[in-house]
C-alpha cells in the first residue's frame, strides 16, 4: 500500500447522501480522498478494517436510529490513530461527549470551513503545530490540542 504522505484518507459517516456527496467533493477539491462512507453504525462495521484511515467526519444522528457517538467508539477501536471530527447540527448538545472524538465542526458549514479544517488538521498531523490559523468554527478537545502541539 503506497500512500501519498500529504494526502489524507477520510471516512464520512453521514446518512444524508447529499451531504456525503458535498463533503466528498470538498475533500477531493482539497486534494484528499474519501475512502469510504457509511450511513449507519451497522454499515460502518461492514467496512474493511484493513484500509488506512487518517480522519473521519462523523454526523451525530445516523440512519436506523444509530448514533455517531457509537460510530466514534468503533472508529477509535479499529483505527486508533484516526482523527474523529464530528460534523453536526447539534454541536452544543454534543460538547459533553466531545471526548469520544477530537473535534466538532457545526452544521451548517461553509466550504471555507471544511477546506481550512482539512488544511489545518493535515498540517497538524504531518508537522505539528499547524502553520495556518485555527478555523473559527472548529472546536477541539484537549487531546487533539496536545497532539497538534497547540497546548
Amino acid at each position: 500500500m503506497t500512500r501519498n504522505t500529504d494526502r489524507l484518507q477520510l471516512l464520512v459517516i453521514e446518512d444524508e447522501a447529499l451531504i456525503v456527496m458535498d463533503l466528498e467533493y470538498m475533500i477531493e477539491t482539497a486534494g484528499h480522498r474519501m475512502v469510504a462512507s457509511a450511513a449507519s453504525v451497522r454499515s460502518l462495521e461492514q467496512l474493511d478494517p484493513e484500509m488506512a484511515v487518517d480522519m473521519a467526519f462523523v454526523d451525530l444522528q445516523l440512519a436506523g436510529g444509530s448514533s455517531g457517538l457509537d460510530a466514534a467508539d468503533y472508529i477509535r477501536e479499529v483505527w486508533p490513530d484516526a482523527l474523529i471530527v464530528f460534523v453536526t447540527a447539534n454541536a452544543k448538545a454534543l460538547m459533553p461527549d466531545i471526548e469520544k472524538g477530537h473535534a466538532v465542526v457545526p452544521k451548517p458549514f461553509t466550504e471555507h470551513v471544511i477546506l481550512t479544517t482539512l488544511l489545518f488538521l493535515n498540517e497538524g498531523i504531518r508537522t505539528p503545530p499547524p502553520k495556518s490559523t485555527t478555523p473559527r468554527d472548529l472546536v477541539m478537545n484537549t487531546v487533539l490540542e496536545r497532539r497538534l502541539q497547540l497546548a
Binding site: 447529499l18 451548517p108 473559527r136
Partner: protein
C-alpha cells in the same frame, strides 16, 4: 376546727336567703359572680354553699345543689382532660383555672371559666374549696370561630398552594416540551441549510460558465450569512435578543477569510449592540452584501489595506459604517440594478432605515442606519 365549720354552716344555713352575717359573707351571697364552696372533709367533697348568681347561671334550685359534688354540671361534651386537671389540682390542694363545658338544668351547655382554690385555716389545713364561675360561652365561641376560620383559611391556602404547584409543574412540563421542540426545529433548520449549501456547491462544481458559477457562489455566501444569523440566534443565551456585535465581528472574519485575502487588516470599532431578532435575517444579508462588496471593490488588483467596521447605538437606531481605504469610486455611477445593490436598499428600508455611500480618494464608506427595535 369543728367549731369553725359549724360557724360557717350556721351562717350558710340560716342566712342563705336573707344576706345576714358578716359583710364578706353578704358580699359573696349577693355578688353577680356565681360562687360555690365545697367541703373536702366530707365524703366526695360536697357543695356546702351556693350563691344566688350560681342558681341563676345553672337554673337549679339550692336544695338540688347542696350536698352534691359539682361534677353534676358536666355532660357528654365536657372535656375529660380538663376534668382530670381539676381533680388533680384539688387532690394536690392547688388552685386551678380552666375553661370547661358545663350544662344547665335544662340541658343547654355553657362555657364556664372556672376557678377553684383551696381555703386554708391558720394551721395550713384545707378547710374548703372556693369556686367561682363565669359564663364565657360567647368568648369561647368567638375563639372557636377564629380557630375554625383559621383552619378554613389554612386549608384554602394549602389547596391553593397545591393547585399552584400543580400548575407550575404543568408549566414546567410545557416549557420542557417547548424547549425540546425548539431544539428540534433548530436542528432541522440547520440540517436544511446544510443541504441547501450542499446542493448549490454540487451544482456549482458541474458548471463551466464562470459567470454563472460566480452567481451561485454569491448565493452560497448569502446562504452562509443566513446560516450564521441562525447559529448566532440559537446559540445565544437569550433568543429574544440578537447580538449584532458578535455576529458582525464573526461575519467580517468569515468574509475576509473566505476571500483568501490575508493582506486586509480589520479596524474593529464594534460596540455591543443587541437588536430585535425580527431584524436579524435582513440585517445579516445587508451586512454580508456590504462586506463582500467592500472586500471585492475596495482592495482590487491585490492592493492591501484596511477595512473598517464600526457599529454603535444611536438612540433608537443602530449605525453601521463599513469603510475601505481604496481609491474610491463615483457614487453616482454605481449600477443601481444589481441584485446586491437592490438587496441592500430594500432590506435597509425594511429595517426602518437607509444605507448611503460616500466615496472619495481616501476610500469608500457605507453608512447604514436602521431601527434597533421595529415599531
Amino acid at each position: 376546727m369543728t367549731t369553725h365549720e359549724e360557724d360557717w354552716h350556721q351562717t350558710g344555713d340560716v342566712a342563705h336567703d336573707q344576706g345576714r352575717g358578716d359583710p364578706f359573707a353578704a358580699a359573696v351571697r349577693s355578688t353577680r359572680m356565681p360562687m360555690i364552696v365545697s367541703n373536702p372533709r366530707r365524703r366526695d367533697n360536697p357543695i356546702v354553699f351556693v350563691n344566688d348568681a350560681f342558681l341563676t347561671l345553672t337554673g337549679y334550685d339550692r336544695d338540688e345543689i347542696l350536698g352534691r359534688n359539682c361534677r353534676f354540671l358536666q355532660g357528654v361534651d365536657t372535656d375529660r382532660e380538663s376534668v382530670d386537671r381539676i381533680r388533680d389540682a384539688v387532690a394536690r390542694e392547688e388552685p386551678i383555672q380552666v375553661d370547661l363545658l358545663n350544662y344547665r338544668k335544662d340541658g343547654t351547655p355553657f362555657w364556664n371559666a372556672l376557678f377553684v382554690g383551696p381555703v386554708h385555716d391558720d394551721d395550713g389545713e384545707v378547710q374548703f374549696f372556693f369556686a367561682s364561675q363565669i359564663d364565657v360561652t360567647e368568648r369561647v365561641k368567638a375563639q372557636q370561630a377564629v380557630i375554625r376560620q383559621n383552619a378554613i383559611v389554612e386549608a384554602q391556602v394549602r389547596d391553593r398552594t397545591r393547585e399552584l404547584e400543580k400548575a407550575l409543574k404543568v408549566k414546567e412540563q410545557a416549557l420542557e416540551e417547548k424547549t425540546i421542540l425548539l431544539h428540534e426545529v433548530d436542528h432541522r433548520v440547520k440540517n436544511n441549510l446544510t443541504m441547501i449549501g450542499s446542493l448549490l456547491r454540487l451544482q456549482m462544481s458541474a458548471i463551466e460558465d464562470t459567470g454563472l458559477a460566480r452567481t451561485l457562489e454569491k448565493m452560497l455566501e448569502r446562504i452562509g450569512a443566513l446560516a450564521t444569523v441562525h447559529k448566532t440566534l440559537h446559540d445565544s443565551s437569550d433568543i429574544r435578543r440578537f447580538d449584532l456585535g458578535t455576529f458582525a465581528r464573526g461575519l467580517t472574519g468569515d468574509v475576509i477569510s473566505a476571500s483568501g485575502r490575508d493582506d486586509i487588516e480589520v479596524i474593529d470599532r464594534i460596540e455591543e449592540v443587541d437588536v430585535d431578532p425580527v431584524q436579524a435575517t435582513a440585517l445579516g444579508l445587508v451586512l454580508n452584501e456590504l462586506l463582500t462588496n467592500t472586500v471585492k471593490h475596495g482592495f482590487t488588483d491585490g492592493r492591501s489595506g484596511r477595512l473598517g467596521i464600526e457599529l454603535r447605538p444611536d438612540e433608537k437606531e443602530v449605525v453601521i459604517e463599513i469603510s475601505d481605504d481604496g481609491p474610491g469610486f463615483d457614487a453616482t455611477a454605481i449600477p443601481r440594478d444589481t441584485l446586491g445593490r437592490k438587496l441592500v436598499e430594500r432590506l435597509s428600508h425594511q429595517l426602518g432605515g437607509t444605507t448611503k455611500w460616500t466615496s472619495s480618494s481616501e476610500g469608500t464608506t457605507s453608512i447604514t442606519r436602521i431601527l434597533s427595535d421595529p415599531a
